[in-house]
Symmetry: C2
Subunit: 301 residues, 2 copies
């Protein structure tokens, strides 16, 4: 039995007891009035959140999969111009290609590319409803039109063909109104244990950091791969080191985990390394990051 049913049964039991029980009338009156109020408010707390999902990219697809299995969430429509299903088994009647056909919903999630957020939200054929985007770098007020604005940003790198465990993904939410923030909390909580209220300014800061720890880190993996390939050394030998480097950040701050020739100011090794690199870009990045590590940790090149 779901927690909602238990809650209603419990209320009925208390109501019955108070009406037929041997209790003073005025107490019955007060308690029943209070319970009547709770019952009136119950649908607000307990009913399904109805969602329309706009977009057909990586984020839309992964959100569809996560929300589709979530308790108390009902995806009523998915809009994208080409009518692409977000799952092979998706009910075709759920997919619309005409934005004007969007039904009433509690939340409209605009999971499209950053540039398209203003354009799509401007075409929404209604007003004063909760419209959220899913971008890390676009401010909330980029949502056009006269709707209530919000953000529902799952902070993760999504690939179309790679499933993700949504339970570990932080979801950063933002809304203009408290009531909408509560709706977004309710929408996020069955998906993830990590729900953060984050302002547009804070989200921008997170996004810059994410570029360093994800995009730039990935480019360092690319350089590592290129150097290994140039000398016919299998890059996979470095896989365990990469995993350990990422795991360490969960236990100690990065500044304490720093090792290597830069922080040791090991000029001999640095010189030998620079001879191995084949491109000016690799040498430039090596030199600048070496200098940055030494500057951060109080050593001069």
């Amino acid at each position: 039995m779901c927690s909602r049913s238990v809650c209603v049964l419990e209320l009925n039991r208390i109501l019955r007891f108070n009406i037929i029980g041997n209790t003073h009338f005025s107490t019955i009156h007060v308690v029943n009035g209070f319970l009547f109020l709770i019952l009136r408010l119950l649908p607000y707390f307990c009913r399904m959140i109805e969602v329309c999902l706009l977009g057909a990219g990586n984020v839309a697809t992964h959100l569809y999969h996560a929300l589709n299995g979530a308790e108390d969430v009902n995806i009523i429509q998915c809009y994208n111009r080409k009518g692409i299903p977000l799952h092979p088994d998706q009910d075709a009647t759920q997919i619309i290609t005409d934005i004007a056909a969007l039904k009433d919903a509690d939340v409209y999630i605009v999971a499209v590319s950053d540039d398209a957020i203003a354009q799509i939200s401007d075409k929404l054929p209604f007003q004063n409803r909760l419209v959220v985007h899913t971008s890390g770098s676009v401010p909330m007020d980029a949502i056009a039109g006269d709707n209530r604005k919000g953000v529902f940003y799952p902070l993760q790198t999504f690939s179309k063909d790679k499933s993700v465990d949504f339970g570990t993904i932080p979801i950063c939410i933002e809304a203009e109104e408290t009531q909408d923030l509560n709706t977004l909390k309710k929408l996020a909580s069955p998906l993830s244990d990590k729900v953060y209220e984050i302002t547009s300014a804070q989200r921008n800061v997170l996004h810059v950091s994410a570029v360093f720890v994800n995009n730039f880190t990935n480019h360092l993996y690319t350089i590592g791969t290129d150097i290994c390939e140039a000398y016919d050394v299998p890059f996979e030998i470095l896989h365990p080191l990469i995993q350990e480097t990422a795991k360490k950040i969960l236990e100690i701050p990065a500044t304490e985990a720093q090792t290597g020739p830069a922080i040791r100011n090991d000029q001999q090794t640095i010189a030998r390394h620079l001879k191995i690199m084949n491109t000016d870009s690799q040498k430039e990045i090596y030199t600048i990051l070496t200098k940055a590590i030494q500057s951060k940790h109080g050593k001069k090149l």
Copy 2:
């Protein structure tokens, strides 16, 4: 019963059968001759590898823990100038502070800092024995003295207080002589499933790549932390993204996993990000890595 005892018993059984069994004499002679040869060679294949471990740093400590529990390996002595035990329960008689007191062993592992390898190996009071260092960046011939040289390099980032699962750590081995390479293979195989024969030149290449994927990546984590701290945003929100970035490299090449404003040439986001960074060093690294990603992926800034 250990596999060695089983092996010897089985050979005795076959020998006995061949001597007393109803077999043609010449066959007995040939088979017994063959088995005699195997028995003569058996100690070479089966006996414990005796190891002396020199050094008391992170690598020496982690190697001690790994080798101490390894089948067919016997650590007979540990040398370091201060007589520091490598484990709280280590037998005190095993620890020596006088390098001249080193006993006969199959392998002497010089697990000291890169600069000290030549110096320590030069002081060894014997010749023509197998002496290996554990460094990623020092050539094998940096080992001084008239001993047989080798390398036993576990490719991982070690912290003193953090235990590591040696089973997943690649061990790169190198030796001047085939027989010594075989000894190092036998020493490495109970420790790790990933044993690679790697030349000094290849090891140098691996070490440069390791600097990119470990040291420099860790510095990017430091920058991410600094940016978050400057704006009071909890950096831990980025932990799952960091883990996912590292996991992705196990499945798809880094060049295919590249995402973000650089590869999309999203100038608006890049400009907004540059405004957030507080230091010239952060801006310089951001600009150079953005340019490198675009150059690698065929886009111009």
